[in-house]
């Protein structure tokens, strides 16, 4: 089976054979191989550098390439096929409490500014929470509010409606529903937003749901 190496001792193997040898050595070696090492391993009289040049040409445009790594040579995946060496896994995780509350406020009060969100939550909203929701494409920027400072507003997106199976933000259960459902056990506190105005607003927004 194996071609006895002794026969090749005094006559170099034909170039095609030398190319095969370089190919096999580069493939099987655990690390990149120097030309000198190739020559040392190949039968006497071989010209590894030339065989390497041929091999390199042969692999041009192929799925793998013969590349130089420092002073040595190795076979590597063609750069454009790197994506084949990646395995994507998707992990599902529950949204954090801060994010879900922020999202709820945006959904119920859109268009809403960050300052308003903070007012309702009673705590400041971290940049990260907004960014996360923006990245998930559940919220997006609405029109700027025509008040001093022209703050940006946030509104929910189509993707948000899709995810929650809603035709429109109007389909969100209104305050009345929440109260009827027992989720709202008492009247909201008299806060920054005038109670009546808000109720009215809510009523407007979701009345077809009632």
């Amino acid at each position: 089976m194996a071609e006895p190496p002794e026969e090749s001792l005094f006559e170099a193997p034909p170039p095609v054979e030398q190319e095969r040898m370089v190919e096999a050595i580069l493939f099987a070696s655990a690390e990149p191989v120097r030309v000198a090492d190739l020559n040392a391993r190949m039968p006497h009289g071989s010209d590894a550098a030339q065989a390497l040049a041929h091999l390199r040409k042969r692999y041009e445009g192929r799925g793998v390439q013969v590349v130089r790594v420092g002073e040595a040579w190795a076979i590597r995946t063609a750069p454009d096929l790197g994506f084949l060496m990646q395995k994507e896994t998707v992990e599902t995780r529950k949204l954090s409490r801060a994010a879900i509350e922020t999202l709820a406020i945006i959904a119920y009060h859109q268009p809403v500014t960050r300052a308003e969100i903070e007012e309702i939550r009673g705590v400041s909203v971290s940049r990260g929470t907004i960014d996360q929701l923006l990245e998930m494409e559940w919220i997006r920027f609405g029109r700027r509010r025509m008040t001093p400072g022209r703050p940006v507003t946030f509104i929910v997106t189509e993707a948000f409606l899709d995810h929650f199976g809603l035709e429109s933000a109007r389909d969100l259960p209104g305050l009345k529903d929440l109260r009827a459902a027992g989720l709202l056990e008492s009247r909201p506190p008299p806060g920054a937003l005038p109670e009546d105005a808000e109720e009215e607003e809510q009523g407007d927004m979701f009345e077809d749901d009632a």
Partner: protein
């Protein structure tokens, strides 16, 4: 060999047997020894004389006894069996005998020997093949597959509603539940769930339905859980919801009926 030359045969056999005994430890049991003896007949295993083989084996055992060499029990069992086989092969068949004929037994022994020989042959051929790590090689620098993990966040409509309700009731909520002590009644739970159930399009863990402030303190949680569970059963009875539990102590899940 012919039955008419017993003395000559026995001398040869004894010599052969003695030679074999020298390395009795080298044999892997009686079948291995028999195969060796069979090979010494220098014929195709299919044409082997089982009678001769039986004689050779018995001579081997005799010789071992004479030389006071301890033979393992299975060698003696084989000797007894071969003595029986020999008598069967030599005596005319008894028509009254029910058991297998001497020829059948001999044929099976020949088959066993041939099969063992064949297995040894292919084992040698297998080991003579090109082997990985010796004659051919796998990739020396495998390029690992990198895993890209993307996290997808999810939330349900109920999460959203609960979050909003939590915000809207936060300030007044605590004192409100405080005066109820630690008891949540079934009626309250029923009332509450009747309103909530239409938002449960998908299976929801009942534990997620406990009202705010009832989930942490064990006493309150127990009361609320019991009340909501009883209410779920009532609603299931009324046909308003489906209820399921995948396993003992697994979460109890409910869903709006007719989803």
């Amino acid at each position: 060999m012919d039955e008419t030359q017993p003395s000559l045969l026995s001398v040869n056999e004894r010599l052969a047997a003695e030679a074999l005994i020298v390395d009795v430890d080298g044999f892997e049991g009686p079948l291995d020894l028999l195969l060796n003896l069979a090979r010494s007949q220098k014929v195709d295993l299919r044409k082997i004389s089982i009678l001769d083989l039986a004689r050779q084996y018995l001579a081997f055992v005799e010789e071992a006894k004479r030389l006071r060499i301890e033979l393992a029990a299975d060698y003696l069992v084989m000797a007894a069996w071969l003595a029986f086989l020999k008598s069967r092969l030599l005596l005319p068949p008894d028509p009254a005998d029910e058991g297998p004929s001497g020829e059948d037994l001999a044929a099976h022994l020949a088959f066993q020997l041939e099969r063992l020989e064949a297995m040894r042959g292919v084992a040698a051929r297998l080991m003579a093949r090109d082997q990985m790590g010796r004659d051919f090689f796998a990739r020396g620098i495998p390029e690992d597959v990198t895993r890209i993990r993307t996290v997808r966040f999810t939330a349900t409509l109920l999460d959203l509603m609960q979050a909003y309700a939590r915000l809207r009731t936060r300030d007044e909520f605590r004192p409100y539940v405080m005066d109820r002590d630690a008891v949540y009644t079934m009626e309250e739970a029923l009332e509450r769930m009747r309103g909530l159930i239409r938002f449960a399009g998908d299976w929801v863990d009942l534990a997620h339905w406990l009202p705010e402030g009832w989930g942490n303190d064990p006493v309150r949680r127990r009361s609320a859980t019991a009340a909501h569970f009883a209410a779920s059963l009532e609603l299931a009875k009324q046909g308003a919801l489906d209820i399921r539990q995948s396993d003992m102590f697994a979460p109890i899940e409910i869903r709006r009926k007719g989803n």
